[in-house]
Symmetry: C2
Subunit: 234 residues, 2 copies
DNA sequence: TGTATATTATTTGTCGACAAGAATTTTATC
DNA sequence: GATAAAATTCTTGTCGACAAATAATATACA
């Protein structure tokens, strides 16, 4: 017998479904393709990915575990809102994690870590050069995440990556309307940080990381202050 | 027609199933009723709780998200092992979280927080008095968790609670064979910490928390050292 | 016309069944 | 008797269907 239709659908492998949905939804949430507060429909997703609701639900449970979506029992589930009221707790945590991960990187990094870090820094510099705000956000996060990895503390990298994700979401929210650009200064600060890590200067790593983090926090706060004024005007 | 069997099973409410399984498995893992590395059978759990595998699986996905169980795709799932090799990363994170949460508690606590904290301290003191090692572990964790709550930073409390859970698991592992007792000294240190929090003395809170944390870490390390010697003897 | 109740529709949580992978056992071959 | 291949058992991942909970709509009544 002759097979006419050899299954035009990609024919996913068993178990790959959840990961695919998880990764894609995660990206769409962090890239603000799915805006905070927007509803998530299981059935719709099931149709879109051509699979049953079961793997979709598993992906959603995972995302809920990371705080990226909120689930009201027996009711709707939606993209997690950004908590502007407790923003300062976010900043506190971010600054501390910048400091501790950079310190640990200075202590525990291996030669190959520096290569990865420098590569991310090159991408960040390129993004700044090109004045591509969205790329800046992404590459900056990747740069600091790589530093944290070099510190080799899974507890810290876990929290830090979560904070970087949340920060990415917040920044995108504002860079969508304002095509402001992060200053060249950040590129230089990154270079300095790489240098002290390479020198294994833990004290100086802490100091620079603190300065850099506060610099970034300040930048974000300025952004929000401007937006606040706009909100009042509306 | 006469109904003979009027459903003797509690008749759970819709949606309560997953939470029940999640909570119970979580407790059993943290209390070492389920030992690290022991396999988890979905079908068995489904029979035990008299429900289908679907809600069981959801609970397992959540536990996996918190790192309490490990899942090999298409293969078995088991209680997460304790990572003795990277123990120092655990201690680093624990000490830092002790410090930062205590500091924030000194800054941001409200009067009612102190009541809760003092209540937990009373329970801890009672456990020490009764030389109930297991109770000490639990009440000590609750005490510090309450302090962290008073600091009102969800990012920190999230990581800290996770660390406390992991610590509870490690300690139980050893207090099962050794009925050693944490010294009375910890009770006094707790009292001192409560005092500086009440005084809103942030600097001193940091200092005491650091000392206390290092004290506890030292205690745990002593325990492990003793056990290590035993392992060699086997 | 506005409010309360009943009806319908939508969506979520749970179930039993089935199929794909992996582990285990059995059979075949040297 | 040891190794390789085949068959079987077992466990997991996925599916379609159904029922409970909620939301939306229609109806009744003042």
């Amino acid at each position: 017998m002759t097979d006419i239709d050899t299954s035009p659908i990609p024919e996913r492998k068993r178990g790959s479904g959840v990961k695919m949905v998880y990764d894609l939804l995660r990206d769409e949430i962090l890239d603000l393709v799915l805006l905070p507060g927007s509803p998530i429909d299981e059935v719709q997703l099931a149709e879109r990915f051509k699979m049953s609701r079961t793997p979709i639900r598993e992906a959603l449970v995972r995302l809920a575990g990371e705080g990226l979506i909120d689930t009201l029992p027996n009711r709707s589930t939606m993209v997690a809102n950004i908590d502007f009221l407790n923003m300062h707790t976010f900043f506190d945590a971010l600054v501390l994690m910048y400091r501790v991960t950079t310190k640990l990187a200075a202590q525990y990094h291996r030669p190959e870590d520096l290569k990865v870090i420098r590569a991310h820094q090159a991408e960040f510099a390129a993004a700044v050069q090109a004045q591509d705000a969205l790329a800046m956000i992404a590459t900056n996060a990747a740069f600091h995440s790589a530093i944290a990895e070099a510190g080799r503390n899974a507890y810290f990298t876990g929290l830090f990556n979560r904070l970087l994700d949340e920060g990415r979401r917040m920044l995108r929210l504002y860079y969508q309307s304002y095509d402001d650009r992060l200053p060249q200064r950040f590129v230089e600060e990154h270079d300095d940080i790489i240098a002290v890590i390479a020198n294994r200067d833990v004290e100086e790593a802490d100091r620079l990381a603190k300065l850099h983090a506060e610099q970034i926090v300040h930048q974000i706060q300025k952004l929000f202050a401007r937006e606040d004024r706009l909100d009042v005007a509306l």
